[in-house]
């Protein structure tokens, strides 16, 4: 009996553990285009960006000189960046049924071309792009943003 309970508790623990891990690692989008020296940085680890590469929350999109990258997020937001750009996807929640909608990005340098997805339509105040100087509140649908390196 004791044994069974232990197994049950372990299973429960595993369930919760796996659940949390899944949320952390949940795919929020994919790379669609990449040119030149374009990379994805997650927790300090950098991997080259290539079409089909998965994005998770807190991914930093980074490009070198003459490089560019385009990604599509799960809510159909299209983001593309030009050379010498650093764009961090800090928060992304897209669960309309649970009313969880949030896209929070931070750009410290470079150029961004943004086309909004379902999120900005469902809740316009859900999307923010922050820069060192000013913040962009996105109520749709298409804008460009350039940030000078500090």
């Amino acid at each position: 009996m004791k044994h069974t309970l232990c197994i049950a508790l372990c299973a429960l623990g595993c369930c919760f553990g796996a659940g949390t891990a899944a949320a952390e690692d949940a795919i929020i989008g994919f790379v669609k285009t990449a040119q030149g020296n374009a990379s994805l940085v997650v927790a300090g680890r950098s991997v080259p960006a290539a079409p089909g590469a998965a994005l998770v929350r807190s991914t930093l999109l980074k490009t070198g000189p003459d490089a560019s990258m385009g990604v599509t997020l799960k809510d159909n937001t299209l983001l593309s960046i030009g050379p010498n750009t650093e764009l961090a996807l800090e928060e992304f929640m897209f669960a309309p049924a649970q009313s969880q909608l949030r896209l929070d990005a931070r750009m410290t340098q470079g150029t961004l071309n943004y086309v909004s997805g379902v999120m900005a339509k469902l809740r316009p105040q859900a999307v923010t792009v922050r820069t060192p100087t000013g913040n962009i509140g996105v109520r749709g649908t298409h804008f460009v943003l350039s940030v000078a390196k500090e």
Partner: protein, 205 residues
């Protein structure tokens, strides 16, 4: 004024002019800017710029604001400047996602002949897009029990997912879910058979 004085004066004014120019440039050094563009359908949205000085709303085509703008101060971005600053970023834009609706015979996961005929087209679209990802959402009509309909819609989505699985579409790039009878295309009362609600929505990104 003798020649020497004239020369000095000239040098001085040049120097002053130069300093002023440098100061002016430093004062104008852009922190960056944001500009609003029309979307694919020609509609223009809105962007709100907030900084330490206040807020500025952009709501017309090509309207732009410096990131450190004084409240309400905007300018118009020329096409030439747009191309110069954002040509690379815009050229890297992913293709807009495309969606398909597939319909089913009543009570099961068998596609109607018309919808079955769409499968090759969907496969071609997936293969045409580098790094494509696909979401498949199954739906039912309201005929019968809620839970049974959830399962039915799920099996419809799974059937479709199988028929569009290809070698280059890895498992993490296809998502399958069921909305059961909770997301009707055509609103009906409960227990109403409606062919247009028996569907799977496929989104190819």
């Amino acid at each position: 004024m003798n020649t020497r004085e004239a020369m000095l004066s000239c040098l001085f004014s040049r120097c002053l002019l130069g300093s002023l120019l440098v100061l002016a440039l430093a004062g104008c050094a852009s922190k960056g800017y944001v500009a609003l563009l029309p979307d694919q359908d020609g509609r223009v949205g809105q962007v709100l710029v907030s900084n330490a000085k206040g807020q500025t709303l952009l709501d017309s085509k090509s309207q732009a604001a410096e990131l450190d703008t004084a409240p309400g101060k905007t300018f118009v971005l020329s096409d030439e400047q747009l191309r110069k600053d954002f040509g690379a970023a815009m050229a890297a834009a992913p293709q807009a996602p495309v969606s398909y609706l597939l319909y089913f015979e009543t009570g099961g996961a068998t596609l109607t002949p018309e919808s079955q005929g769409l499968i090759p087209q969907i496969l071609a679209e997936i293969q045409r897009r580098p790094g494509a990802d696909v979401s498949v959402v199954g739906h039912s009509d309201t005929q019968g029990d809620d839970n049974a309909n959830f399962q039915l819609a799920l099996s419809r989505a799974q059937t479709v997912a199988q028929s569009i699985s290809t070698a280059q579409l890895s498992a993490d790039r296809i998502s399958v879910e069921s909305h059961g009878e909770k997301n009707l295309l055509i609103p009906t009362a409960d227990d109403v058979p409606e062919p247009r609600n028996r569907r799977v929505e496929i989104l190819v990104r």
